[in-house]
Amino acid sequence: MELSLQFDSWQAFFTMQGHGVYVFACYAITVASFALLISLPRWGRKRLIKSIRAGARRPQH
């Protein structure tokens, strides 16, 4: 199997003979989905640390 670049120019790559809009929309949504999936646990962890530290600072009676 031989790997070769399928497009002659950046222009050709981005337009993809009229299909570029569909193809790059899909890849963009994929990137956004993975960004969300990666961020969710990080946000949760940050929120939790904040609440634990806030709870610890509260005066104990």
Partner: protein
């Protein structure tokens, strides 16, 4: 016989300590595989003679469908393990598998709709596979909603496990839908038992991407599970010790 190892498998603390450090490496590896696969599929794979360049969507669409389908089984199995052995960690895995699966199913539906426009001339059609995948999306959403609906965590977990187990009925229907109803969606391109209907130059990047999605899924499942474990066990001493101000310098 020593059964300690078995009970450790159900302990969120043990799981967190075992996975916390190397999960970042797994994540870096998964993302690298995704990037390589995307470049391969976008620029180095020959164009399809019938669909033109729009077929390049296959490399993000098919893996998302496959992983979201398998993710439902993983969620149901984790729920069943939780019901049988009454272990916390398995319930946590089940509860985080729902949002991950929902986002991946959504990704599969949206990329499929966009691919449908240049190929079939429509974004949506009441095709068997598309319809049952939408059902799967709502099942995932139902489990997320059910998880929030109960104040008692254990009740919520048990209810979700039941719904996940009942929902698995949908999985073989989605899987076989292209063979049972010959409506619009094309049959599977990759087959394990017979010759695939796809050229090897196009199949290798697809197999690569499916593998990359699976590795990424495992990583996401681990990181979401750990984040959820910390939240669920926030009152316990090990989580408090991890994040209290005294250890502030140790926390990364």
């Amino acid at each position: 016989m020593n059964w300690q190892w078995f009970y450790q498998l159900g302990s969120p603390k043990w799981f967190y300590q075992k996975t916390h450090y190397w999960q970042h490496w797994l994540g870096a590896f998964a993302l690298m595989m995704l990037v390589v696969g995307a470049i391969w599929g976008l620029a180095f794979t020959p164009m399809d003679y019938k669909q033109g360049n729009s077929f390049r969507i296959i490399y993000v669409h098919v893996p998302a469908s496959a992983v979201s389908l398998a993710g439902f089984y993983i969620m149901a199995l984790a729920g069943a393990a939780g019901l049988i052995w009454r272990v916390k960690l398995q319930y946590t895995v089940m509860s985080v598998a729902a949002p991950i699966g929902a986002i991946l199913t959504f990704l599969s539906l949206v990329t499929g709709a966009i691919w449908g426009k240049p190929t079939w001339g429509t974004y949506w059609q009441w095709d068997a596979r598309i319809t049952f995948t939408t059902v799967q999306f709502f099942l995932y959403l139902g489990i997320i909603a059910l998880q929030q609906a109960y104040r008692n965590q254990n009740t919520a977990d048990r209810a979700c496990a039941m719904l996940a187990l009942v929902g698995t009925v949908n999985i073989p229907i989605i899987y076989k839908s292209v063979d049972w109803w010959y409506t619009l969606h094309q049959p599977a391109t990759l087959k394990l038992t017979e010759k695939s209907s796809i050229a090897p130059e196009m199949a290798y990047p697809l197999i690569w991407m499916i593998l990359a999605y699976y590795i990424c899924y495992v990583w996401l499942l681990i990181s979401h599970t750990n984040a959820a474990s910390l939240r669920r066990e926030r009152k316990s001493s090990w989580v408090q010790a991890l994040f209290s101000d005294r250890n502030a310098t140790k926390v990364t």
